[in-house]
């Protein structure tokens, strides 16, 4: 075998290494293997909206309580949520899944939060879940959290979710736009 055949073989190898026979990870380019955009809607219980609330304060610092978000930028408030996921920014659109988990406000000086949650789908479109964790410095226009895993249609997924506050109303409602880019698809 001459040098040029070897070169050809190695070239084919390199091509192959980018193909789907190998993990879809592409160290340089960072092009997502899947992209999904959703909205979710959080209505926080405030003592008067128990019918509509999708979230409730369940932990609070010594100086706070569970019907009013605490002073000092809500530092220490821990919220459990079960929020509808929609395809557009309308709270009343048919939900395509639920965003479920916790967030905590975790800074006294400005609003920031830490999130651990899942998107749960059970429709003809999507079955399975996507799991997220990360810091949410929510005064920034966009902020990134990690996709740390997935199940069902999202088996073993990893990636980045970019959060954007799409709207909020006082301390009762907010809506997040979530732009999910998966970089590991199985």
């Amino acid at each position: 075998m001459e040098a040029k055949t070897l070169v050809l073989a190695l070239f084919l190898l390199l091509l192959l290494s980018q193909s789907s026979a190998f993990p879809s990870r592409k160290p340089r380019v960072h092009k997502p293997c899947k992209r999904l955009v959703f909205y979710f809607h959080d209505v926080i219980y405030n003592g008067r909206n128990s019918k509509n609330a999708t979230a409730a304060i369940v932990g609070a610092p010594a100086w706070g309580n569970r019907t009013l978000l605490a002073n000092q930028n809500h530092f220490g408030d821990l919220v459990v949520f079960d929020d509808p996921i929609t395809l557009d920014n309308n709270l009343h659109s048919a939900p395509v899944g639920r965003a479920q988990g916790i967030y905590v406000y975790d800074k006294k000086e400005i609003f920031t939060a830490w999130l651990g949650f899942s998107f749960v789908f059970n429709s003809t479109e999507h079955k399975g879940s996507i799991n997220f964790a990360g810091a949410d410095p929510l005064m920034n226009k966009t902020r990134d959290v990690s996709v740390i895993g997935g199940t069902g249609d999202f088996f073993m997924a990893r990636g980045i979710a970019t959060l954007m506050t799409d709207a909020f109303e006082g301390e009762v409602y907010f809506r997040l736009r979530v732009d999910i880019r998966l970089y590991e698809c199985w």
Copy 2:
């Protein structure tokens, strides 16, 4: 080099790509590189069982408290646990490790939970930890959460854990069967 030698070389390559010289990820087949089955046992503190309790409510919604699981399918109850892990379904078998972390009930209409926890092992059999996160729609016969990492013997592990409620007694005890399939082993 003729076409057939190239084909042979590429075939060998593909074989190699499945071997241990390459990451154990197998995009198509999804055959686990490691499988483990355990049971864990959760005894929730109810004000009268402090000696036996392995778990306690530490957060609750405004309408709940920390000795009784709340109305509305326990929505908002946050539980901390340190549960024995056993190899069979007997609470009194010798524990092989501990399941430690948190779960929150996160839906008003039915029972669902969100989990963040670890299996911690320190025996001759296993040393290290497996870390989990995900949604647990616990009325389903089986449900999948993500293995998001591991340490020690489970260094860098990723995979899926299938949970099954193996038994429960009122609101005091439940036992989960956990079928762990790792798809990334190092």
Copy 3:
């Protein structure tokens, strides 16, 4: 093509498989692709230090409260924190980022905790976040948690963080040394 050319081709292949054209994962050697060492400092609110406190108890078992860590090795106490990260072990060094998230004490018999948190950087040195989860049996000299993801400069990172209690003062202050070894770098 003779056997020896094939052997040569396969040898070159194996070499290639270790090169940067392929994922940086090295199943056998486990050499980190990035290593970072930091300290972070946790000052727990105790009712009298509201100005300096960087952390607060926000969940507690029925037998505890939110200004004093609970009996039974603080089992059930859930703490939210926003701790300064420094390059050396001096609390008063200029912070290079913040450690933000939650920990829960989760064992009655000894001190252990479960952590879900992020390192958040926004300096010329580092921009982005590193996300962590795992068990912290804090009486051990060192213990490992998982790096479950990252954003920005730490895009898609995975690895292990080794925690060491570098100092503590009663129940008000502790300092952790965090030795981060990433094994997946993008």
